[in-house]
Symmetry: C3
């Protein structure tokens, strides 16, 4: 008995300011659909971080989920709002690359139907004035083709695999590289590591490689931050060396 | 189909300590009403921050919402708990100024009916022992006049318009001043700014003024913190200069 | 009308990374049960902090609650996952001491029934691959004895009363000591305090003792951090001196 059309929110708004709470109010006034938080802790204006987060998370959510992702430095400009639909999931976001990793195979609409927006909305907060009421309308069953004209493509981030895509709370440096079947090492900058373990506990206090929960290689240290010790940052290039 | 009588929480408790989770448990044991978080990141004991947050947020929430706002440095003293009711919304808070900006036109009750509180409650955590069970009772349909005697007035914060009322996560300095129709400048301390833009993107790297999502003037810098660059703080006085 | 079988989450994952959002997706795909956050801000790998948080919180939650607590440095090793059941509440956690303070009188099962787990799950994220689907199954009515064989005991933390068990957001140093009936002082390291007050407000700017919301003694300073001023840390020993 999964939730019907839950709304899942992803923003860079934090929760100390009234932005998320205003969006939730607009939604609560329009639909009984459950509203869930994916995160509001995306670094301000960091579209890549949001895009990668969405990639990591969306596959675990059921059909019917409406993802509302608002990291929107271009709010109020000519940048579009887009809705992408595939596998009975809908992704609503500014057209700034945020849907780069989830839009393959999706039908895409430009969200332009102004009757769905709050009247007299602002130029600075479309999360509240456009995204929230549109998400509520979709949760109530509005067909995506009522949102606006079809688009062939969305804006996509410039991205090359072979990257540290995230540093997590535990200091793990998470790559986008799937391990080859043979033994391998990972090289990033002046650092090369070839010790691969199956669990964090067996890894011990020296840097090691581990297949993380994404299926990709991570650089880790038990009970410490590999990123701090090895001076790794998001965006650093990594490559696999087969041994 | 809006939510019936959702409970919306606003506190300075953070989420690292067990305080919010205890309140939610008390509520969950008494009602099926949905419980939503407005924020728990109000700075400790900062009644003004909470009061302004509530002002910014409440108008976006539907009739039936029960706002529970607990920033309560005077817990256990003779300070009252008050319930304010207007527009089919209820605001529950300590009577310390927290409802300053939302109580106009409201009917007010002093929350004194001890049978609604947890038995053997503490003197140090009314959020759990009084606010939570009272909110659940209201969500289940209890009439506000069962809470206690009517009050004519609540405690109000000393507040003069012409203030930076918040610094947000993006470093925007948010004022409480509505722009005049003509061209204008904003002056705060030694700083005067007269460049007004419509979107953050067109603002560029120099400080500018923008009409924020509250309808009031904000001081901003694109991709940076205007508050840091200009040394602005909450509470700083601002005034409009018509040009 | 309390919630039936709400799922309450407690982790050290934070909310900036996609871990909690992935768990919630797995749950949302399997059950309509409401999912609530206790906290995700446990310090990384801090099993004691999680165990004490759970102790403080669980008694306020109603029968039917399923607590899912994931602070799991040993993920993927031979450490068990356990389910403890008492008072119509279920506690699901790695068997690493996290249930130390809530398991007395509980029936305990080792969670081993692999058909309940996600297929092809990882060795590094049981929160998503095992805890989430098992919690959803329990919320949908699965009997706890279907999870795996009964256990006589769980792993328990080494713990001696007479400890500062938490420093909260307000800087209160929270002990696990119930006040004796007579006048008393509290001693920790070189510090001894004998001034006991009933409310924070009457305590004033000098350190004082107060009976906190847990029923235990706290060391506090009004409008300041007692922990910072007195250099108190979690784990410090404390003792009562009867006067």
């Amino acid at each position: 008995m999964p939730h019907a059309r839950a709304i899942a929110l992803l923003t860079d708004f934090g929760t100390r300011d009234p932005y998320v709470a205003s969006m939730k109010g607009v939604i609560a006034g329009r639909t009984d659909a459950p509203v869930l938080d994916l995160t509001h802790e995306i670094a301000p204006h960091d579209v890549f971080e949001a895009a990668w987060f969405l990639r990591m998370v969306e596959k675990w959510w059921p059909a019917g989920t409406i993802f509302v992702a608002v990291v929107d430095p271009g709010v109020g400009t000519a940048r579009r709002i887009v809705a992408a639909s595939r596998d009975q999931k809908i992704f609503l976001a500014p057209d700034n690359g945020l849907l780069t990793f989830v839009a393959d195979g999706a039908r895409i609409r430009s969200v332009e139907e102004a009757s769905l927006f709050l009247p007299n909305g602002s130029d600075t907060f479309h999360g509240r004035d456009r995204f929230a009421p549109v998400a509520a309308a979709l949760a109530n069953g509005l067909a995506i083709d009522k949102l606006g004209p079809e688009l062939r493509e969305i804006v996509r981030l410039d991205y090359q695999p072979g990257t540290i895509v995230a540093i997590d709370r535990f200091g793990n440096a998470i790559t986008d590289l799937v391990p080859p079947s043979a033994r391998f090492a990972l090289k990033t900058g002046a650092v090369a590591i070839d010790r691969v373990v199956r669990t964090y506990e067996e890894g011990g206090e020296e840097p090691f490689l581990i297949i993380g929960s994404t299926g990709c290689i991570e650089i880790s240290i038990r009970n410490g931050s590999a990123a701090d010790v090895l001076h790794l940052r998001r965006g650093d290039r990594v490559e696999i060396l087969e041994l």
